[in-house]
Subunit: 225 residues, 4 copies
């Protein structure tokens, strides 16, 4: 079974559709009950396998535990797409929005990965954590967004060291320049016409998430051409 | 005037003592009223200049604003030493302690720097942000600590790009292997006998924080030898 | 047509075999005429398409030009696998071997990529440059090897900035822990029993080298599990 | 005694003047006999201590050995400033100039540091290696320059790991935006009017190169303001 977070829109929703087209059993989570139900309904229409969904506030450790408690089995793959954006010159950013940004990105990622490690570190579970190319460089106008993305990168690279020799694997994914609702709702007026669609990013990520007996693709950066 | 955060102990307290020995006017802040008062009293005993102090919860934007409102003048130098540690294997970390770690390090740094930029970006104010070598590498047993330190690094490097051409300057400071109370109170049982003392780190940082007409030392890493 | 450098052994030879099994037209190059001929013969036995080969000393700009002059058409994909290793404590390394290491890795990569950019920057040519995880971290016992690999990384990331908006694309590939003859001939006595085989790395790389209309996988790290 | 490479011009020459003004015994080296003699003569006019000089082609391991053989004693500090620049779009760079760039920067640094480590690793010798901010980021128009500077960084960080626990220390220095003859002779038409002078960079570096019993400033970035 594949667990996808942030599945109610964007890359998460596209991954859900593409994996369901392969009839992979899915468990979807997101914040919005209605949007999540709509994505799940579409997936069920493609798939000969089980598609389940449940909302979750991932920054809340108890909510994460409740989510993982209801999974019917250990996921073979978790794709953590949940996250949100907030942009603009630092001097004009709002404190409340910064706190939400930290919760939605950093706190959520830590609470989810922590619980996954506690439960599954000795099983062959792959956890792909979707960040952004903003985790790799500094950007004017994205100071707090870069902050939370750099944080997740440092976190994932550290946890990997703790998991050395264990069957659980962490894959770091860095998409850049993807056109999703995200940009419209986050205060950026970037022109996204030449950006990749979420469907394009999903298809590349799905293909690149590959492994063999002794190895795996551990880090994937996807850029617009 | 020099504003020092985290001045009630460790590197911040040592910097306060060493700058007061030079009779630099100081404004000290920290979380513990008693410890802050004790450090300030010691500084006043050395200094022929003003030494003021006020406690502040830096992760709270309103508290930061109240602190900066009472400063008698624009600081020529801010040394942001405040922060806390939390260590150990991820699977054994507590959610509450992780939330405190994020607040004390990441949220505090963002709220402080945001307000400093709003007030002083067009003045010759130098803001030295003390992180850790944990901002530069991944470490097993320090996953959440690395997360918040990488975050501050990505944040500072991004804000720097926004300040390009302005007189305000950000200096990034990365100390590694310093022996302070920090280690005793943070769940690590590292043997710190050969570590630098906070006084040593303070004296090196004070000396390396230098500038000329057209340039400045923008990044300083201090390591034990 | 796909141009593969370093095709006489290791990852390059495996990629040649796997692409020829798909009947992709290939042009193979390497330093050893005999080994290259043997790999090409095997590829021809699988493939319904053209397989050509020619030796080349890639650190020599004129030799690179001669190689590219004889290509029957623009390659759609170049996979630059050529390189060599040299390991051990710095104090015990030999100057001559260091000079060879620089030539085989850094000089070769610059001369090849320079000529490819001159010829094909305005065509849809993808150039995948295979480095190593030694391009991403510092390692004791691998100081000069890290030097040349960091160099290629900084070079490729810079050239990418020059190619922004052009159809030519550079893909950075970082394999870690692969078991090839390389280790036996380079002075390392690392136990490579649990390492990926070159065939495994080749199959993952071949799969992850993917693109869509507006995007492509630009950076791929492959690690042993 | 302080050994300074690249002492015939730029930062190296300025460091020589400033240390000789403190009457530190100096040993200067560079490629140009005449310019080196002129700098040494100026230094001797300030200093009450010994100032010696000898030309050296640092990319040649034997020449490095000859240089170090004539030092009257172990240097307490080596400041390696030697290097050269070469800029411009990759497609327009000349192969010969690239080979010279690699020799003057990467090969020289490896051969010098290798011999210093062989001789002095068990002594309290500090080796400050001056690179550039081009060692920290990728830059269009500086692909081969970034290559050699990234190489030196990866090399130094790796050798540091080999020296762990030894008294020899490596300090990494990254100056950015310094106005020296360098720019005029390297094919760049950058306007350097607001850049730091080499004298400014030298004074900041001299001050920041500090150490205490248990610690030292290990990495210093100097930027124009």
């Amino acid at each position: 079974m594949i667990l996808i977070t942030g599945a109610s829109s964007g890359l998460g929703a596209e991954l859900a559709k593409q994996y369901s087209a392969d009839s992979q059993p899915l468990f979807l989570t997101g914040r919005s009950e209605d949007k999540l139900a709509a994505v799940a309904a579409k997936c069920k229409s493609y798939s000969r396998s089980e598609v389940s969904q449940q909302t979750c506030q991932l920054h809340n450790a108890d909510a994460v535990a409740s989510l993982l408690d209801v999974l019917p089995s250990s996921p073979k793959l978790v794709i953590h797409c949940a996250g949100s954006g907030y942009f603009g010159e630092l001097a004009k950013q709002e404190s409340d929005a910064i706190n939400v940004l930290i919760e939605n990105n950093l706190t959520s990622s830590i609470m989810l990965v922590k619980d996954l490690v506690q439960r599954y570190q000795d099983e062959a579970v792959t956890v792909a954590v979707v960040m952004s190319t903003a985790a790799q460089v500094a950007k004017a106008g994205e100071s707090t967004y870069c902050a939370v993305k750099w944080a997740i990168r440092g976190f994932i690279e550290s946890v990997r060291l703790e998991l050395k020799g264990k069957p659980m694997k962490l894959v770091a994914v860095y998409p850049g320049g993807m056109a999703t609702e995200f940009w419209q709702t986050s205060g950026s007026n970037m022109n996204t016409a030449s950006f990749m669609t979420a469907a394009e990013a999903a298809s590349m990520l799905k293909q690149a998430l590959t492994a063999t007996e002794h190895g795996y693709v551990s880090d994937i950066t996807i850029n617009r051409s």
